[in-house]
């Protein structure tokens, strides 16, 4: 959409202060970008510098030994993916449903919509450790799931929901009104309108939300230690306890003497995993958009 603007705009000679403002804005925007990129590279550089030495194929495919100081992270990687899978499987339908409901069936002023929206904002601000304790009490004990990948994934889903819902809702609200009018004039059902027209158009917002949600879920420590647990054995079902990568990183860096090097390596794997998941999410959403647009 910005193509009209990315071409350099000629400064208006008549307005020197305007040109000055333009230059100041240019400097500010590029400066910010440079600052963000700089700090990011600093952090990433530190991760790579300290962690890349420990990385190897064997590190990814063997089990940890000596509390993680030696050995690899294979079971932890599997647990992490399983937790993420549970989290996504629970988040995506609920988030879609709620977002569609908020954007299409409630007005800004409506009471029910307001209640849901405010609840979500509150949910977004619940500290992760409280989620952990809640998840422990509710999923592990009340529902009897125990320390398990299932409990962990569901707890993470509770955390990721507000992010995904709100940004999906924004995406849906940004879909031009003309589509809805056109669809109504053709007597399309709301179901068709929603699945064929609105959701594809809302994909950017949805992807942004998912990327944030996945990021938050993958990075989560406090909520997982009380729900999916600390066991670093290869899980054999979703009802097994499994240690997530972020917990492994935390444990190695804060609790295990001499674990720093592998902590960096595991953090690097985590970042790589995130990159992968984001890439897959982006590709899937692009594919989805294309498939729906094609005959």
């Amino acid at each position: 959409m910005a193509d009209a603007l990315t071409a350099p705009v000629a400064a208006t000679p008549a307005r020197a202060d305007g040109a000055l403002r333009e230059t100041a804005a240019l400097v500010a925007v590029w400066g910010t970008a440079a600052l963000i990129a700089g700090v990011f590279l600093w952090i990433l550089g530190e991760l790579v510098w300290n962690g890349v030495g420990a990385l190897s194929w064997e590190y990814l495919t063997s089990a940890p030994r000596e509390a993680g100081r030696a050995g690899g992270i294979a079971p932890i990687l599997v647990s992490t993916l399983a937790i993420l899978g549970v989290c996504l499987a629970a988040t995506v339908p609920i988030a879609f449903g709620s977002a569609v409901f908020l954007a299409e069936y409630t007005s800004d002023a409506g009471r029910f919509g307001r209640v849901v929206r405010t609840s979500l904002d509150v949910l977004a601000g619940v500290p992760s450790i409280v989620f952990g304790l809640f998840g422990n009490a509710f999923f592990c004990r009340t529902l009897g799931l125990g320390f398990s990948i299932l409990s962990g994934g569901l707890t993470l889903a509770c955390m990721a929901l507000p992010l995904v819902i709100r940004s999906t809702e924004e995406g849906l609200r940004a879909v031009p009104r003309e589509y809805r009018m056109g669809a109504a004039a053709l007597a399309l059902s709301r179901t068709t309108t929603l699945f064929r027209l609105l959701l594809p158009a809302a994909v950017p917002g949805l992807t942004a939300g998912l990327v944030l949600g996945i990021g938050r879920a993958l990075a989560e420590t406090a909520a997982l230690i009380f729900t999916s647990g600390y066991v670093d054995r290869m899980p054999s079902s979703l009802l097994d306890s499994g240690r997530a990568l972020s917990i492994h990183v935390y444990d190695l860096s804060m609790n295990v003497a001499g674990g720093d090097r592998n902590a960096y390596a595991s953090a690097l794997v985590l970042v790589g995993l995130l990159l992968l998941v984001n890439g897959v999410a982006g590709a899937l959403s692009a594919l989805w958009r294309r498939r729906l647009a094609a005959p």
């Binding site: 849901v116 405010t118 904002d121 924004e170």
Partner: protein, 285 residues
């Protein structure tokens, strides 16, 4: 024609989903309230504000410095991150060369997914010693603000980007037709049109800032005292829970849940404010 039936089924499904997200909130609130009830009953709500200090093991429960710490760290981080995040989105949409864009978006996505432990780690090992040279002890309100700002920046940047992305192209064309400069278009047309989405991003970031635990715990110093300057250590409510929960006996544990309840109250208050602000802003547009 089966539509009405299908539509009704859809509506009920959607309503069910929406209700389930409300149910989760209610469950969380009920859980936290239930756990904090013993302390509230035994100690009474007033003493959480009037006790001489926070030493739960010795029976003192003053939370005020931690409330202040939470608010100061979060507010500082937002003040810093909001303009940077929006500028990053503007950069992405209007200034970055096309070849750079997807990289930039990935970079921000990555930034969002770096575990808070890593941010905390980096803050503790790299940032705190730098601040320590300026003014000891280094672990301080300032360190918390800087690390937290970095952590919430991607939320603001990504959601602002989505908001800018959805500004209708014809606005841009009309702005160009009026001879508006690039920045003139951005500040005069695009930002006002996208402010709803940007505000949502800031609100979510605020919630994340208030709720962040691990990184803040590692760089803030965690001393329960009213900070007198940027270089004083502070303890946030989240850090308080994380530091003490695992080691707390029953009364102490319940008191920690009261800090959880206080956090929820702060977030609810903030959510109310931001919703009102958003509605006002959107209505004025």
């Amino acid at each position: 024609m089966p539509h009405p039936g299908r539509d009704r089924a859809l509506l009920w499904t959607l309503r069910l989903f929406a209700v389930s997200s409300v149910a989760i909130v209610l469950l969380v609130v009920a859980f936290v309230s239930g756990e904090s009830a013993p302390a509230l009953a035994e100690v009474g709500p007033v003493r959480f504000f009037s006790d001489p200090s926070w030493h739960p093991a010795s029976g003192f429960f003053n939370m005020v410095p931690m409330l202040a710490g939470t608010v100061l760290v979060s507010a500082g981080a937002l003040l810093l991150a909001a303009p940077l995040g929006v500028l990053s989105a503007i950069f992405l949409q209007f200034y970055a060369p096309p070849a750079l864009r997807s990289y930039w978006r990935n970079l921000i996505g990555l930034l969002a997914g770096i575990p808070s432990v890593v941010y905390g780690f980096w803050g503790l090992v790299s940032l705190v010693p730098l601040i320590n040279r300026l003014h000891p002890p280094g672990q301080s309100l300032l360190a918390g603000i800087l690390v937290l700002a970095l952590m919430v920046l991607p939320t603001i940047a990504l959601l602002s980007d989505a908001a800018l992305e959805s500004v209708p192209a014809h606005y841009l064309r009309s702005a160009a037709a009026l001879g508006l400069s690039r920045w003139g278009t951005v500040s005069g047309v695009v930002l006002p049109a996208a402010r709803g989405g940007i505000l949502t991003g800031v609100a979510l970031a605020a919630a994340r800032a208030v709720g962040e635990t691990m990184a803040v715990l590692m760089v803030c110093g965690n001393v329960v005292r009213m900070p007198e300057g940027l270089f004083d250590p502070v303890r946030t409510l989240t850090a308080n829970i994380a530091l003490e929960m695992a080691y707390a006996g029953s009364a102490h544990r319940s008191a920690l849940f009261v800090s959880g309840l206080a956090l929820l109250a702060i977030v609810a208050l903030g959510a109310g404010f931001s919703e009102a602000a958003r509605r006002k802003v959107v209505a004025n547009g």
